[in-house]
């Protein structure tokens, strides 16, 4: 089989000292993000929420479908404080406590079963056509003309401090504002990866001049294989 199989993972635990120890399946505290299958199962959803009237949703789980609507800040930009994986199968939302604008390393992961013969590029698009980046979350605003989704490669190490943004980080390309093909993050930093886990962290930043909008951009991974 030449095609690699990618498993998308998140750390549901609160310790940043635990790398993924499995080979594509759940391996506590790492849980698997369920994907669409030909059988029709509904995939899990990545949700950024919080920063509203009640500030936070409960942890480590929250009621399926719950949202704490973020209040737009008066100045600057607000980091939306919480990330969840909403599970259709379990009808519950699992908190990803390590996600955010911090120095954590083992937050989200991609296990590659097999071999990719390129880097693994973390990207964000409007939808699964992987062709446009015009939705407000990706297009940005007048004051913040870049994607609201900030991501950083943590395969080798976490961020040096908790001030990182999607701007080029510490003179490297470890972090970026996720917006299509031109603004993305290399998760391996290498030209090939075999049977390994690559890690990243991400958060969403809501600028003060954002209009009220609804959008469901997709997080995706681009790669080559033989």
């Amino acid at each position: 089989m030449s095609e690699p199989i990618l498993s998308f993972l998140y750390n549901h635990g609160s310790s940043d000292a635990t790398p993924y120890g499995g080979n594509g399946g759940a391996s506590a505290p790492w849980q698997l993000i369920s994907v669409t299958t030909s059988g029709g199962a509904t995939p899990d959803t990545l949700v950024f929420t919080g920063g509203g009237i009640n500030a936070f949703l409960p942890t480590p789980t929250a009621t399926y479908g719950a949202r704490e609507a973020t209040i737009r800040p008066l100045v600057d930009a607000l980091t939306i404080p919480q990330a969840y994986i909403e599970s259709e199968a379990d009808v519950i939302m699992y908190n990803v406590p390590l996600a955010g604008k911090n120095t954590n390393r083992y937050v989200f992961g991609v296990y590659i079963d097999g071999e990719i013969t390129s880097d693994l590029y973390l990207e964000a698009w409007d939808d699964n056509s992987f062709s446009t980046t015009t939705s407000p979350a990706l297009a940005g605003t007048s004051a913040y003309p870049y994607s609201m989704i900030n991501a950083i490669r943590t395969t080798d190490e976490g961020a040096d401090d908790d001030t990182w943004t999607g701007a080029t980080y510490s003179g490297t390309s470890r972090s970026n504002y996720l917006k299509g093909y031109d603004s993305r993050v290399r998760l391996a930093g290498d030209d090939s990866t075999i049977n390994s886990t690559l890690y990243y962290n991400m958060y969403v930043s809501l600028p003060y001049d954002a209009a009220l909008f609804h959008g469901t951009p997709v997080i995706s991974f681009r790669y080559l294989y033989v």
Binding site: S2, V35, L46, S131, R222, L224, V226
Partner: protein, 153 residues
């Protein structure tokens, strides 16, 4: 690990192609189960690849006389002669498991450079490229890999 094909959102997938309808675009993509390479050897024997999931390239033997690609749409793309070839498939896979095949990249090795033949596998309302178009570029570096296949050239 069990493979998933990622095609559940592709509509009307037949032997030729299928379509993806989204809010922002409409994409038509080849049928990945029916695209493969054809390697011809000096004795006239042919080795056919399998599909875009299990391409069969790693098992291909050296000494290729000519290399061709057959897409599910019926198009045949003939690759010029090089000293060696390498074949790469470019895909995107979203976190919900949806997949789109962008291209097949065939790298052809000359004395001191690599020519990249990018065969387009999808078309939409935005891109100027259509299924079966070939974009030829020159690579700045030679990728070291055990998957290069030498030609009889």
């Amino acid at each position: 690990m069990k493979r998933r094909d990622g095609l559940s959102k592709i509509r009307d997938l037949d032997a030729n192609s299928g379509s993806l309808y989204t809010k922002y675009n409409t994409v038509r993509m080849v049928n990945p189960y029916r695209c493969h390479f054809i390697a011809v050897y000096p004795d006239g024997k042919k080795t056919k690849g399998k599909n875009l999931y299990d391409t069969g390239w790693k098992e291909l033997r050296d000494g290729i006389s000519s290399l061709h690609y057959r897409l599910s749409t019926g198009q045949i793309i003939n690759i010029p002669k090089f000293k060696a070839y390498m074949h790469l498939v470019e895909v995107s896979e979203s976190i919900d498991g949806s997949r789109l095949f962008h291209s097949i990249n065939i790298k052809g090795l000359l004395d001191n450079k690599v020519i990249n033949y990018k065969i387009i596998l999808k078309q939409d309302n935005i891109s100027k490229y259509k299924i079966g178009d070939v974009i030829v570029t020159e690579d700045s570096k030679v990728i070291k890999s055990s998957y290069w296949k030498s030609s009889s050239f």
